[in-house]
């Protein structure tokens, strides 16, 4: 046990001390965050410039008053000018564009927007919606309907889904649940592939470096394998923890770096209401999830899945020699169930109680990924228990088998082992 500890700490420390670890663990999320911050900043600061639009309202559609809520437009009514005469003047007068509304209702060119350069789509859309609103209001009034009454009548419906449990009804946040499930499943998938192949590469390296024989004259091959697997797993967990800490720190740091952000959002009343509701919805949604259950299952399924696959990867790494192509051929059958798990998971987040999803979350080779895809939904206790038991069982089974393959493979040189031979080594007695 003690020797596993010595190997574990070497594997862990050499990886964590590497510059590339620091770079991927801290650098990459930092760069992504800064990138997003810059994008947010640019898109917000771009809004500061108001589009000045001149209007000649010959049809008197607006009656000299425009509701510009939620837009970046600023309108000025121009009097005593015609379309032809003002076309030459609006740029000099400081307007980006000039809207002409003709008196002639039958005209093809009833509404004309003149500008020196092509106008951006959002601006055109804003102006269009302003005109449409004004026309609708005018027609409602012409037909004796009060526009405020109409607004009330045509209010959008928000469908709220309540889940009935024994503890009483609770609000469901389908979107949030979906995102969290998918995210967890995807992370486990990524970690299994990345760290599993790292175990494989490291084993092959030890074998081709011929250090394996030096080490196994001091420790049992199984101890070397377990020390390596646990050490690399610990690197993965460390990376996770650092990412979570970074995420929390960044989130609280955004308002410090961008004090304008909240202020900016507040300036735009319509957006404000919408954003606030999204933010509160998200916060409520996340807090409505069984966070402790998610965290614990994530840790369990990460460890269970990683340990099971890492031992298989280690066995594959022990039988290949320098030939990378050979390694890829052997690795493919190992990657298959992982990819299958990922595919089932993408189905499971949409339909968590389908028989495919239930099967996938119990079958130990896919369960780490698929179960995380169902985790935000209520899972029957028996399914969870069975899945956990099977995963533990398969971990024990695979480390037992692969330990023996590893023991033989790591000292075999020059000869390529087939799957058949590996299976025979695995089930050999002693």
């Amino acid at each position: 046990m003690n020797k596993i500890g010595i190997i574990l700490s070497r594997e862990y420390l050499t990886r964590v001390k590497k510059k590339s670890f620091l770079l991927t663990t801290i650098g990459v999320p930092l760069i992504i965050m800064i990138f997003y911050a810059v994008i947010i900043y640019i898109s917000l600061s771009g809004n500061n410039e108001k589009q000045k639009v001149a209007i000649i309202d010959e049809a008197n559609l607006f009656k000299g008053k425009i509701d510009i809520k939620g837009t970046d437009l600023e309108f000025s009514f121009i009097k005593n000018e015609t379309e032809q005469s003002y076309v030459k003047k609006y740029v000099q007068a400081g307007f980006q564009s000039f809207l002409y509304i003709s008196k002639d209702t039958a005209s093809q060119k009833k509404y004309q927007l003149h500008s020196a350069s092509s106008t951006s789509l959002p601006v055109i859309e804003s102006i269009e919606s302003i005109i449409n609103n004004a026309i609708r209001e005018k027609q409602l009034r012409a037909n004796g309907v009060d526009p405020s009454v109409f607004d009330q009548l045509t209010k959008d419906v928000n469908l709220e889904n309540t889940i009935d449990t024994e503890k009483g009804g609770k609000k469901s946040y389908a979107g949030i649940a979906y995102a969290v499930s998918f995210g967890c499943g995807f992370l486990i998938y990524m970690m299994m592939v990345i760290y599993g192949t790292q175990v494989m590469r490291s084993v092959t390296e030890e074998k081709t470096n011929r250090i394996a024989e030096v080490i196994v004259s001091s420790v049992k091959p199984f101890q070397l394998m377990m020390g390596k697997i646990l050490g690399i797993g610990a690197v993965g967990l460390t990376q996770f923890i650092i990412w979570i800490i970074l995420l929390v720190v960044m989130q609280s740091a955004i308002p410090i770096f961008f004090p304008d952000l909240i202020h900016q959002i507040n300036k735009v009343p319509q957006a404000n209401a919408e954003n606030i509701s999204i933010i509160t919805e998200t916060i409520q949604g996340i807090s409505s999830l069984p966070l402790l259950k998610i965290l614990l299952s994530f840790l369990f399924y990460f460890l269970g899945g990683y340990l099971t696959y890492a031992s298989i990867f280690a066995a594959v790494g022990s039988v290949v020699s320098e030939d990378q192509q050979e390694a890829q051929q052997l690795v493919f059958p190992v990657l298959m169930p992982i990819i299958l798990g990922f595919v089932i998971m993408t189905k499971a987040v949409n339909d968590p109680n389908s028989s495919l999803a239930v099967f996938g979350s119990i079958f130990p080779l896919t369960s780490p990924i698929v179960m995380m895809g169902r985790i935000t939904y209520d899972i029957p206790i028996w399914q969870l228990a069975l899945s956990i038991l099977l995963l533990i069982g398969s971990f024990l089974f695979f480390t037992w088998i692969t330990g023996k393959i590893y023991r033989t493979g790591i000292l075999m040189y020059g000869k390529k082992a087939s799957w058949k031979e590996m299976v025979r080594w695995g089930f050999k007695k002693g």
Binding site: K3, I6, I7, R10, T14, E206, N209, R210, I211, A212, E213, V214, I215, V216, S217, S218, V219, K220, L411, Y413, G430
Partner: protein
């Protein structure tokens, strides 16, 4: 007393009888040569002694008791022929790591490593990385990591390959002094001239079987062919006799093979009677290399694979 006894050890692989019924005893404090051509089964035999492989059959006694790899491994130092180190690790850290895997505490490892580094003039290497070392340098490091836990039994597989004569001598001296201090050394090689120089006792194995066992002197006596070398003012006319066959004759140096049960003194008398002034007279014993080739040379140079049920 024997530090190691092997009793009819067998290890069969699916296509080869790697070790086929080998028994031998190694005396404590001796330098023991394990010889054999490539693929004879030396490495497999050593892997069983170091607990890496379990024998299919037979028994290993270590210090008179049944060999327990987990408990006894601390008393064994093994330097394999195919040896490697972690390239990115610092030399000091690497030595400590290997020592701790042998069960030493960090502090003990440190003292022992410092002692050995000073002895072999390696102090300045401590913070260098393994990848910066030349082949000979990493060989020296390998040797140090093999012996720094003061093992009772040291197994060296081709320890001099890649070393220049100066460093090879340095290591050779260390091997002698380790043996003098009570360690037993198993020295596996196919370089006979080194064996003759270093080993007290040797075993020759071929195709998984032991074909020779004894001290170097005994073996040479067993394989001697009654060839003598005489130097003096000999001329061809002196050689007309039936008591010997001439093997070679060159500028007064004569090699003869005595026939049957002729005594050495008869040979000397023969020349003295003819008035030859003899400058030197000695028996020529075969070198281990000659014995090796005589015993192994007529078998196929590489082993064939066979099917074993």
């Amino acid at each position: 007393m024997n530090i190691l006894e092997l009793h009819s050890l067998k290890k069969y692989f699916s296509d080869q009888k790697a070790v086929d019924d080998i028994s031998l005893n190694i005396e404590k404090g001796s330098i023991f040569g394990l010889l054999g051509p490539n693929g004879a089964g030396k490495t497999t035999l050593i892997r069983m002694i170091t607990g890496i492989f379990y024998p299919d059959n037979g028994e290993i006694l270590f210090n008179g008791k049944k060999f327990h790899p987990l408990d006894d491994i601390i008393n064994i130092g093994y330097m394999p022929e195919e040896r490697g180190l972690y390239k990115k690790m610092k030399i000091g850290d690497h030595a400590i790591y290997l020592a701790r895997l042998k069960g030493m505490s960090r502090a003990d490892a440190m003292t022992s490593i410092k002692k050995w580094f000073i002895k072999l003039e390696m102090e300045s290497w401590w913070n260098k990385k393994v990848e910066d070392l030349s082949k000979g340098m990493s060989q020296k490091l390998q040797f140090v990591t093999t012996v720094l836990h003061n093992p009772q039994l040291i197994i060296l597989d081709e320890p001099f390959s890649g070393l220049d004569p100066v460093n090879a001598n340095l290591i050779k001296e260390e091997i002698f002094s380790l043996a003098k201090n009570g360690a037993t050394i198993i020295f596996s090689t196919h370089r006979m001239e080194q064996v003759e120089e270093i080993c007290n006792q040797i075993v020759l194995i071929n195709q998984g079987k032991k074909i020779l066992d004894g001290t170097v002197r005994e073996i040479k006596q067993n394989f001697k062919e009654n060839i003598f070398c005489i130097e003096g003012n000999i001329i061809p006319e002196h050689l007309m006799t039936h008591i010997f066959e001439v093997v070679s004759f060159d500028k007064g140096k004569l090699l003869v093979k005595l026939s049957g049960d002729t005594a050495n003194n008869e040979l000397l008398n023969f020349f003295i009677k003819q008035g030859v002034n003899i400058q030197s007279f000695n028996e020529v014993l075969p070198s281990l290399n000659e014995i090796f080739i005589r015993l192994v040379g007529d078998t196929a140079p590489t082993r064939k694979f066979e099917t074993i049920n």
